[in-house]
């Protein structure tokens, strides 16, 4: 019913600066993303986009307000339970790719499956399929840092899909790529959204990308406008 949905209610994140004053990176954000939606979140630097994504992805906890992932109020969960949600329900794509440099492409894609405790055989099957999905079936044995930026980000997307989450969160996924590689990445995300009905939230500066998304949420000074 609520699979793949993201809902926030009066979501705020404040930081103490100095003794008394508080700074709100995010203030009273109400947002609803349905299953299978492709949403872009845009806004200038420091507007609170990443803060919003961190809260949705259970990396951070709200000061006030609530985040529901697939109907579960994640703000109330323990650190261990939130780690489990990240493991099982969310795929994360970073601007810096953040692959493990000492590992091969194959091992990077396999890593979340190991964290989940999947068996060797199933891991092997899934990694093979995922490398095919992102078109890098021949690069499995390459070390992460032997790959180009675009290839690294494709491996990162394969990794985000490792545990078959319904939700993919991407923070500036094309920010460190040239135009053509960036386009490939966006096309891959669009493909995953259409073919596999993944709920995808992309943070981006790039108006070109935003226009490819069905819905654009704009944030300024911590509020949706």
């Amino acid at each position: 019913m609520s699979e793949g949905t993201i809902v926030t209610e009066k979501l705020s994140k404040g930081y103490n600066i100095g003794k008394r004053s508080e700074f709100y990176a995010l203030k009273d954000v109400d947002m609803r993303v349905e299953k299978g939606e492709l949403v872009a979140i845009t806004g200038p630097s420091g507007s609170g986009k990443s803060t919003l994504l961190n809260l949705i992805s259970c990396l951070d906890t709200p000061t006030t307000g609530r985040v529901f992932l697939e109907g579960v109020d994640v703000g109330k969960l323990s650190e261990g339970q939130r780690a489990r949600i990240r493991r099982e329900k969310i795929g994360f794509v970073f601007q810096q790719f953040n692959l493990m440099k000492s590992m091969t492409a194959y091992e990077n894609v396999e890593l979340p499956m190991k964290l989940l405790g999947l068996h060797n055989k199933e891991r092997h099957e899934r990694v093979k399929n995922l490398l095919e999905t992102v078109g890098l079936e021949n690069k499995g044995n390459n070390k992460a840092n032997e790959l180009s930026g675009g290839e690294q980000q494709r491996i990162a997307i394969a990794r985000s899909l490792a545990n078959q989450p319904k939700i993919i969160l991407a923070d500036e996924p094309t920010g460190n790529l040239d135009k053509k590689s960036g386009e490939n990445i966006i096309n891959l995300l669009l493909y995953l959204n259409k073919k596999e009905n993944k709920t995808i939230v992309i943070i981006t500066h790039d108006p070109g990308i935003a226009t490819k998304c069905l819905r654009v949420i704009r944030i300024e000074d911590g509020r949706i406008i």
């Binding site: 990396l59 780690a83 489990r84 099982e88």
Partner: protein
């Protein structure tokens, strides 16, 4: 996630090797020193055992009579009593042809009751050729000789061993030669005490040298535990003699040896602990350098316990590899340095188990703080900055 821990170790090979060497030297030192300590203790124990059961009884008068000896034999806990006056045959020893070299080796005639011949060196002597002394040899000029003594005097079975007795008629020295027939040659043992023995019957020597008094006898106790009691009993029950044993000083020296071993082990442990600090330092550095990776791991959903375990594993692996190196280094004294020493270092299973336990403990303790730091890393903070 053992794989990841191994990968991290292999990623920084030089640093890992240096850290392993730090632990390995410490552990190696403990194994080496421990094995030397065990070797010395064993050897000292053997030597002590030779002396521990022995009581020296000296005469408070001019000599110890046969009657007194019989009295001592009747005391409970006494295994044997040997009166061993040493007779040096001046003639035989100074014969340059027989000596064959410039080094003067002194062999003494041990005059004993044939019954006691196995107690002289505190182990049973075996005749390689001929026979041992028997009761009927009393009063006969016969000898049972050790292999070195036989070689030195060029003696074979049935050969003749001269003994020169010196007496004075007024101021004129008179030398009388007695020839002892070799009735047996003792099997070579490699032990100097046995191989240089010359055993002759006590009663024979007493006839040849009637003036030589027995002033001291050696008493053996059946059990080392009784030595002090037997000593006390001799002093109490037998008049005219004073008995003393070495058990007190042996216990004292065992105590000192124990203390020296403890001090040595303390040094080894200090050295291992400095290795542990090196390991802790490596692990702190390793976690600092991998902050981002750890952040990513946590962002991907690794539980704190997973991150903790991974760092601890890495620390424990380094430490155990250190133990393996130490195990190798620990053999150096045994195989090379002390190859020709008078004792053999002993690497006991206990020593290996204790050091392995120590290495594992070091690995865990050195890993705790860095692992805790890693587990507590906030992925938001770490991933925010490039």
């Amino acid at each position: 996630m053992l794989e990841l821990a191994l990968k991290n170790i292999l990623r920084y090979k030089v640093r890992s090797l240096l850290t392993i060497a730090g632990i390995g030297i410490g552990i190696g030192l403990i194994i080496a020193l421990g094995s030397i300590g065990a070797g010395i203790s064993l050897e000292a124990g053997k030597v002590a055992k030779d002396f521990a059961g022995v009581i020296h009884v000296t005469s408070l008068e001019s000599n110890i009579s046969q009657e007194t000896i019989e009295k001592i034999k009747k005391i409970g806990g006494v295994q044997y009593v040997i009166a061993i006056p040493a007779y040096y045959s001046s003639g035989a020893n100074s014969d340059p042809e027989a000596a064959g070299s410039s080094t003067q080796t002194v062999f003494s005639f041990n005059a004993i009751d044939p019954k006691d011949q196995d107690y002289v060196v505190k182990k049973e002597v075996k005749a390689k050729r001929g026979r041992k002394l028997i009761e009927s040899d009393n009063g006969e000029e016969v000898a049972l000789v050790g292999s070195d003594a036989a070689k030195y005097y060029h003696l074979g079975l049935g050969g003749s061993m001269p003994y020169y007795s010196l007496s004075y008629e007024g101021d004129t020295p008179i030398e009388t030669e007695y020839d002892f027939t070799v009735v047996g040659i003792i099997e070579a043992t490699g032990d100097y005490k046995t191989d240089s023995l010359i055993l002759v019957p006590l009663s024979t020597m007493q006839t040849i040298e009637p003036d030589q008094a027995i002033t001291e006898v050696i008493v053996g106790a059946t059990d080392i535990k009784n030595v002090e009691k037997v000593t006390a009993d001799i002093n109490k029950k037998v008049a005219g003699v004073s008995a003393s044993d070495d058990i007190g000083s042996i216990r004292e020296s065992e105590k000192y040896l124990g203390q020296i071993n403890q001090a040595i082990m303390f040094l080894g442990i200090i050295s291992a602990l400095s290795g542990a600090l090196g390991l802790a330092n490596t692990m702190v550095m390793s976690v600092m350098e991998r902050r981002r990776e750890i952040g990513v791991l946590k962002a991907l959903g690794a539980a704190n316990s997973t991150v903790l375990a991974q760092v601890m594993e890495e620390s424990a692996i380094l430490s155990i590899l250190g133990w393996v190196l130490g195990f190798g280094l620990g053999w150096i004294p045994k195989l090379f340095v002390l190859r020709y020493a008078h004792f053999d270092p002993i690497i006991t299973p206990d020593l290996l188990m204790i050091t392995f336990g120590l290495a594992l403990t070091i690995g865990i303790f050195a890993g705790i703080y860095p692992a805790w730091k890693a587990a507590k890393l906030d992925p938001v903070e770490v991933l925010k900055y490039e």
